[in-house]
Every structure is written in C-alpha cells, then in structure tokens.
C-alpha cells in the first residue's frame, strides 16, 4: 500500500478498524504514522468535548413568549394572553424576571429598528416605558420582601443595595442623554445593557431573600 492509497482508505473507511495493508504501511512509513497518531489523538480529544450543554433558561421563555404571541401555542393558563400581559405572569416567578426584561429588550430593539427614521423621535419615549414599569414593579416587590434580618450578614445585602443605587444612577444618566440626543446609538446601547443588568441584579436580590428566609 502506498501513502496515497492509505489516504483514500482513511477517507472512505475512517481511522478504525485498520486493514492489514494499512497496518503494514503504518509500521513502515513514519510520515503516515505521525499523521495517524495526530488525527487519532484529535478525535479522542474531540470525544471528550460534551455533546450536550445546558442552555440558559431565558431561551425557552423567549421562544414560548414568541409562540404565544403568534398564536402557535395554546393552553397557557387557559386563555391566550396578549404578549404584554405575559410579563405579569413572568414576574410571579421572580427568577424569570430577567428573561422578561430580555424579551422587552428584543421588542424594543425591533421597534426601534423597524420604524422609519422620522418616526424614531416620536417613539423614543415609548420603547423603554414598559421596561421601566417592569423594573419598578420588581423593585417594589423586592422592597416588600423580608430580607435577611441578621446584623452583619447584611454586608452582602448592603453591597447589593449599594450596587442597585449605582445602577439607578447610571440609568438616570443614560436616560437623560437619550432624551437629549435620541439618535445617540452608543447611549441607547448602554441604557439597554443597564436595564438588563438591573433586572439581573434585582433577580439575584430576590433569590437571595428567598434562600435566606
């Protein structure tokens, strides 16, 4: 068997099992043996890579909301909900709050992207309104929830509250900028990300309150 024939063998039959002729050639040809060892090692390493990975939970939430909106899914809490009302349901489960805001982000981005330029100024006030409402509701729920009452343990809670204040300050800054310069895309991008981070922070605070109580 020549090197070229071995290559054809690998192409048609793979790396295992080797024919007698292939084995013979590999015992004689260092170059082909190098190749075979290298590729066998690569395949063995590839087999160690996980074939399944856990996707983030918010993907299912987004898919479900979209299918509900389209009417593809029925049988959700009895009646079909208009898409904006599905957020009230999501916030009952605090750990889905982040996903709810993420969906709002998608809708906001879609609205801003699809409107003709001259209408952008008119809708600037609207796209973030439902996001702000959702986040305010979440903050209100958090304030009502009884957090860990022990003395110094609130070092963590104090850190979380301090970070929440910083987030709110930053959001206020970005909102002022976006109101003053509605076409500033960089500012809008930062504002969108800030809302998302706030939603994640509020979720973490609510989860912590639940786990400690």
């Amino acid at each position: 068997m020549q090197c070229r024939e071995l290559e054809v063998f690998f192409e048609e039959e793979g790396l295992a099992p080797l024919s007698a002729a292939a084995r013979q050639h590999l015992s004689e040809c260092h170059a082909c043996k190098h190749f075979f060892d290298d590729v066998t090692g690569i395949v063995a390493l590839a087999h160690q890579l996980p074939a399944e990975l856990d996707p983030p939970e918010h993907i299912w939430i987004s898919i479900r909301n979209e299918l509900v909106r389209e009417g593809t899914i029925h049988g959700l809490s009895g009646d079909r909900l208009p898409w904006w009302q599905s957020f009230a349901e999501l916030f009952r489960n605090r750990s889905l709050a982040t996903a709810a805001v993420a969906v709002v982000m998608i809708v906001v981005a879609f609205l801003l992207g699809s409107k003709p330029r001259e209408q952008v100024l008119q809708v600037q006030e609207d796209p973030y309104a439902s996001t702000v409402t959702a986040l305010s509701q979440q903050e209100h729920d958090l304030a009502n929830m009884q957090l860990a009452s022990t003395g110094e343990n609130s070092a963590v809670d104090a850190s979380l509250r301090q970070n929440l204040e910083q987030v709110n300050e930053f959001i206020a800054d970005c909102e002022r900028r976006v109101r003053a310069e509605p076409s500033d895309e960089l500012a809008r991008e930062y504002l969108t990300n800030a809302y998302q981070q706030k939603a994640q922070l509020l979720s973490a605070m609510m989860d912590r309150g639940g786990s400690l109580n």
């Binding site: 074939a51 022990t150 609130s154 963590v156 850190s159 960089l186 800030a194």
Partner: protein
C-alpha cells in the same frame, strides 16, 4: 464498539462504581469545625460549590486523580453537604438557623483538584482563588473578589461588586460586573470580553493573532497596554468620556482599508498597530479610554 456508539453513551454522565455519597457535617459543639473529604475521580472531574454563607474558596491543583475538599465552618448554624456522583462533586452550604450572624455563617473551602478540572463556584463575600487549573470555569461572587493565576479554559466570572485579577491566564475570558474592576495581566487569551458598569478595566498583555478583545465600562477607566510585538486593529469609542491616546506614533490608519468614523455623538479612536491581526474594541460611556505602549 464503534467510536460513535462510545461517544453517544458518554453523553450520559457515567456513574462508574462511585455511587452517591451523601454526608452532612453537623457539629456537636459551637467551635469552628474543620473536615477533610477525599474523592477519587477517574476522568476530568466537575466540582460545584454553592456557598450561601460567607467565606473563601481556594482551589489549587495537583497530579493525583483525587479531589480533596477541606471545609472550615464557623458554627453549627450553617450546614455543609457533599455529594459525589461519578466524577461530579457537589459541595453545598445552607443556613440551618436564620438567627445566624455574619461570623456564624462563615464557611471557607480549600480544594485540591486534578490539573484538568471543571469548576462551578459560587460564594457571597469571600475571595475566590484558583491557581494552575485547566478547564471550563464559572465563578460567581456577590461582593468577593476573584483571583486567578495560571488558569486555562473557558472562564466566566460574574460579580456584583467584586473585582477580578487574572494573571497569566489562557483561553477565553468573560467578566461581567456592576461595580467590580478587572485587571488582566500577562495573558495568553484569545477571546476576552470584559463588562463593568462603574468599575475600571486594565488589560496589560499580548494580543494573540486573530484574537478578539472587547472591553466596556460605563463610567470607569478602560486602559490597554501593548508591546512592540503586538498587532491589532483598534476601535475605541466613548459617549461623554475622553480618549487618552498615548500611543499615537504606533497607531496607523486601518491596515484593512476600512474607513472608520465615530458618530457625531461620540468620540472615537480608530487605527492599526502592526499588521492588525487581532481585533480590539474599547468602549466607555463616560469614563476615560487610555491606550499606551508598555516600555
């Protein structure tokens, strides 16, 4: 047995003779208790620590096929459980008495793991420290810092206020925080994504060819230091902050012939160092972006 069949079966977590070991640690007295547990593993283990209390998590490696977990808990108001299923080890702390104060809720962990280990660590205020481990890592802390030294893999760090110091790390790094800062020193990272709202970012290291580096801060400083051997395309923008270009003599117009312009609402700095092999994107909403060549 065909390779594909072996691979399909390996998608299911193997439980090879190890079974499940469940052992709660409940102290008989109130003094700090130290317990050491040994877990034999066969392949690349996955170690998961969920520390709902306060405390450090330190991880170092060795060449043995064994995971050693040493835990020190401050009181009996906090319980720690360990569980092994195959090559996965779970360590979970929980509050058993809600009147516990911060000191009583403390649980510190020291781990020695095989050099190739996957880590999922979560704590509240203590430091997370990992040294010389290769594997995917997901590290979560609220207020505690994360220090990594000579680690390699797909590294994801999330904090609320804790800062990251990453020294001589390789692979991919993602960092996300609200007020924490990030320092990345002497890296061999090919993919970097650093995000902080009010913290600072310092990247002092080399840019791997074809690497992607994205660093963004809301209010903080974003500083990049490069060497004479580096080669990258730079795209830096800030809305209301400033751009401090201390490398003007090294920054040429984009080598790929792309004409960049910042929008009228932002300030930008675009150009190429060397041949423009890597891609570097820097952004700060209201802070300073600084770029300089290391001496």
């Amino acid at each position: 047995m065909k390779l594909s069949t072996v691979l399909r079966r390996s998608a299911i977590l193997p439980v090879i003779g190890a079974g499940v070991l469940l052992s709660p640690w409940m102290a008989a007295n109130a003094a700090p208790q130290r317990v050491e547990k040994h877990f034999t593993v066969k392949g690349r283990p996955v170690v998961v620590i969920r520390n709902v209390g306060n405390g450090r998590i330190e991880v170092k490696s060795w060449k043995n096929s064994e995971v050693v977990v040493t835990g020190t808990k401050a009181s009996e108001k906090i319980a720690v459980e360990t569980e092994q299923a195959g090559d996965r080890i779970d360590v979970t702390s929980s509050i058993v008495d809600s009147t516990a104060n911060a000191r009583e809720m403390e649980a510190n962990f020291q781990l020695t793991v095989p050099e190739e280990t996957e880590l999922q660590l979560k704590t509240q205020t203590g430091l997370i420290y990992v040294e010389q481990v290769t594997g995917d890592m997901t590290l979560d802390s609220v207020a505690g810092d994360v220090h990594l030294k000579e680690v390699s893999g797909y590294i994801i760090v999330t904090t609320t206020g804790g800062s990251l110091v990453c020294t001589q790390c390789a692979g991919k790094l993602e960092f996300s925080s609200i007020s924490g800062s990030a320092q990345v020193l002497q890296p061999s990272l090919s993919n970097v994504k650093l995000r902080t709202m009010t913290g600072n970012i310092l990247f002092d290291g080399d840019f791997v060819h074809t690497g992607l580096y994205s660093m963004r801060s809301g209010k903080g400083l974003v500083e990049v230091r490069f060497s004479g051997n580096d080669s990258f395309d730079l795209n830096a923008q800030t809305a209301t902050g400033t751009v401090d270009n201390q490398a003007a003599e090294y920054l040429k117009p984009d080598s790929h012939g792309v004409k960049h312009m910042a929008s009228k609402f932002s300030k930008g700095l675009f150009g190429t160092v060397g041949m423009g092999f890597a891609k570097v994107e820097l952004s700060s909403y209201s802070g300073t972006i600084r770029i300089l060549k290391r001496d």
